[in-house]
Symmetry: C2
Subunit: 247 residues, 2 copies
């Protein structure tokens, strides 16, 4: 009677933590969004799988909780991290309606980190992670977060930068950011991080405004210190003039 | 002739990705901060190790680059992610001074994610990651980032919240945030994430102001929606009223 909520990283097996691998191995049942189940199916073939399409999160979480309550060990998988825009919060909310059972949240490498590593080191200093999806958040709140992040000179990682219904949202976001940031602010994006068709592009904020990206893309907006070095996006920490403290 | 910059996660072996494990296995030499080398030494015992104390990052990076240039496969290890306050940016900057060689940045689970999983799901919606260390950043910039993040209703994860010389910095940060946020804003912190002595505390912003944490602690400040559910810190995404888009 245990439910793991597992972030399995960018996609391929190697991006998973050993903790995530162990949780999936221990599970009898693995539940998740269809695309993610397809990604893990090949490596954990002796499991029972339950997949639901994208917009059925609550149903999927309830199913996983109920399987756990039957006495099974269940993993609910999320791409990237299980917390960052993942299912961990929904499960913790829903669990209030059920008898007690064990929940273990297994973190994973979210797209800001895996995409950042592909581009170079854009997130070496303070940063914000903002989703451009207004399905769950009013646009004026998203806009305020963009404005404040730009005013604070935070590097920004944008999730869900586009969808069929929101094809101009990245353009809108860039236009807002351009009120505060230089046109030549170093930016980049990575499509299909850690999967077939991975594609990384370095650009400037002004050019990014007119680019088209899809929903499988993570976008990075540099801060005033971010530079392009040998084709990589690098936000210096200032080590070369000063010294680091531990992290 | 290859240099991996490897984020190995919170500490213990299981928090490492399979990609990180493979990189370390392939390496002849592993370099890092003494404490981190001690963490990986037990699992990769047949390697050559090079460790330097905390404030010798540039020396350590140059040593690793020079070993790679001798034709060796070298891993430079960082706790958490290799990008987020890690050594990836410094290596990319220093590499300009050397002949070309192959660099691969291996991302890892940063403390915001691993600590978040211990506390519950604090980062389920837009968030900022801010270091309180003013060794590399002027305090007024840190303060501005705190103010803007609070005004934008971002969840905040604070790195380096304290040190011997900066014992009152968390108090200063909380006082600034209290100008914008409710006194009962749900907050939490995790000490020694994924290591011996792990300790998680849930509290409120007003109480956090008077708490003492050490440099091995990661702090989380909720947004206006963050709640405590069954002893966990949860920022809802709004799934229960609306539907998710993919990430």
């Amino acid at each position: 009677m245990k439910l793991y909520i597992v972030g399995f990283g960018a996609g391929d097996y190697e991006y998973m933590t050993i903790q995530a691998k162990t949780a999936l191995e221990e599970s009898q049942v693995i539940a998740g969004y269809t695309t993610y189940i397809d990604l893990v199916k090949d490596y954990f073939y002796d499991k029972e799988f339950y997949s639901t399409p994208m917009k059925k999160e609550e149903e999927r979480c309830r199913w996983a909780i109920e399987e756990a309550l039957k006495g099974k060990t269940v993993s609910l998988v999320c791409s990237g991290d299980s917390g960052v825009y993942g299912l961990a919060s929904l499960v913790l909310e829903l669990a209030e309606e059920y008898p007690p059972f064990e929940i273990e949240i297994v973190p994973g490498v979210t797209a800001a980190l895996s995409g950042g590593a592909v581009l170079g080191a854009p997130l070496s200093h303070d940063f914000a992670v903002i989703s451009l999806s207004d399905l769950l958040t009013p646009w004026d709140k998203i806009e305020s977060r963009l404005r404040h992040s730009a005013m604070a000179d935070l590097v920004i990682s944008l999730y869900n930068p586009s969808s069929k219904k929101r094809s101009d949202y990245l353009k809108r976001a860039c236009s807002i950011l351009l009120e505060y940031l230089r046109e030549d602010t170093v930016c980049g994006y990575v499509k299909n991080i850690g999967r077939e068709g991975e594609e990384a592009v370095l650009t400037t904020l002004n050019q990014l405004k007119d680019m088209t990206v899809d929903m499988f893309t993570t976008v990075f907006i540099g801060n005033s210190d971010t530079r392009e070095i040998n084709g990589k996006m690098v936000t210096p920490r200032g080590y070369r003039i000063q010294r680091e403290e531990s992290r």
